[in-house]
Symmetry: C2
Subunit: 343 residues, 2 copies
Amino acid sequence: MPATVLQNQQFRLAARPVGLPKPTDWQHVTEPVREIGDGEIIVKALYLSLDPAMRGWMNDSKSYIKPVGIGDVMRAGGVGVVVESKSPKFAVGDYVSGGIGVQAYWAGAADDKYGNFFKIDPRMAPLTTWLNTLGMPGMTGYFGLIEVGQPKAGETVVVSGAAGAVGQTVGQVARHLGCRVVGIAGGKDKCDFVVKELGFDACIDYKGGDVRAGLKEHCPNGVDVYFDNVGGEILDAVLSRINMKARIVICGAISQYNNTTPVKGPANYLSLLVHRARMEGMVVFDYAPRYPEGVAALAKWMKEGTFKSREDVVEGLEHFPDALLMLFEGKNFGKLVLKVADA
Amino acid sequence: MPATVLQNQQFRLAARPVGLPKPTDWQHVTEPVREIGDGEIIVKALYLSLDPAMRGWMNDSKSYIKPVGIGDVMRAGGVGVVVESKSPKFAVGDYVSGGIGVQAYWAGAADDKYGNFFKIDPRMAPLTTWLNTLGMPGMTGYFGLIEVGQPKAGETVVVSGAAGAVGQTVGQVARHLGCRVVGIAGGKDKCDFVVKELGFDACIDYKGGDVRAGLKEHCPNGVDVYFDNVGGEILDAVLSRINMKARIVICGAISQYNNTTPVKGPANYLSLLVHRARMEGMVVFDYAPRYPEGVAALAKWMKEGTFKSREDVVEGLEHFPDALLMLFEGKNFGKLVLKVADA
């Protein structure tokens, strides 16, 4: 038992945002961490994962996961350390990954369905990597590309949000599979990074040029697989360059998440007909039973030095509201992570 | 050799339409049928197939098939009879189906890639049925549903343009496969027809009511397969009711073909993500090697009396321009066919 009562800090959802989340959509709460009972643990948050999908969880609409309730702690994945345990499953000092929420401490049943923590090995990869390549974004990119995109060696794979968490995994996995890899990212720095550091064949800067012209230049043989994280105009641009039997993986649509007008549907969707192509949605949770397989594959490449994981770390739980907005402004460079405490 | 020179009548494309085709987009030509040489035949058109896809062929844009050139005879499938033959492949009096074009006579090589005629048996089914259930629309519905839609017994299949050529086949095939079948059609007569005559479980009248409410009422277990012939608002309505792992077959988008504004992309396409669903385009020509299989299956059901084929016949080649417009106004009731001559 700790000598002093732990003080928690939480961000609770105060109101459902219209457009971009505003400061008043959050309630910043400080309160003692509750005492735990048999089978329960307390996890101290170290790093939280900030993801575009969080915006969708804030809406009160039917989706692949329940919306966060008004007054509830905002949902977030994270890595932490067990600081108190009344469960045989975890010992104090264990590093874990799971649904911590946007708070400094998580308390609950070790088997809790939402918490659902699993142990991670900080010697295998840095803690932040467990929220990136070896976490949800990595699993999303790995299984989404392989299972839904089904790329074959020699094919051209295009990925938007290329320097982001999912995009960097998609592109590097595609490279390992022998594909031509073309990223789409915002700004010269991100484009240079994915080409020079991650080994993409090319990258189109959507802020600095014409995406259609870039696709024409860098995908001379058309596009076989497009992994879409952004939607909007970029999806339409890629649809105009797809090959016969192309596969479009619908993973996200960050350009549309804060719309106050209706989502912009892909006007070029009839290109699917012309090219007998397919557009298919994916949600990473479906692959949960296979995460160990994905982690093993990516960790092996990382160990060999042929796969990189880049995180953009913002320090301080109190900066959560502003840090989240970085995603929608494309300001993060690599997987966005919020550092809550030192290990 | 015929004693007199045959007089041909043709509709040639005079201009590329903007929006709905206008009378001035056509050139109506009368000229003698040319003499034929070795390996060639003359086919007298009896019935021509009028299809929504014709609108796309009139545009000068990259698609699954070459655009009709300005000054060229408008492309059309049809059934006819061989009236002159210098080919061992066809005898005078043979009934054939193939690419006749919008004209009274077709003359050319029996093996011509575009003509590509094959013999049909008028005792097996009426000539017009060879342009419907046993022709392109039937093959489109049959292979599109089975191969791309992949319906399983007990699933709910929704089809738009339900009383049209492709729709009537899709719905009846789905019924034969043990699915719940819900049509979407324009007007009470068409809805009554598909339910009472074709055995659909229900039909939603998009002109007379709210499609979303209709889907809610008639698809209490959601939608597993949607065969889309229309696009636009109806596609969005169905996307809001799909089940996990639903399959959407993109066969056409008649609501969008005459747009002078950009195509309306499906604003609800992120439902694909939420439901891990897929939207896939199809073009019937890909299944050409398997047409005999499709014809055999549909002809068997027709013979057993468990499958119906309804055509809407307009008489007179000279009425082609107006007859074509019926498709886009939803005025045809069943597969639209233009009668050119008596057999």
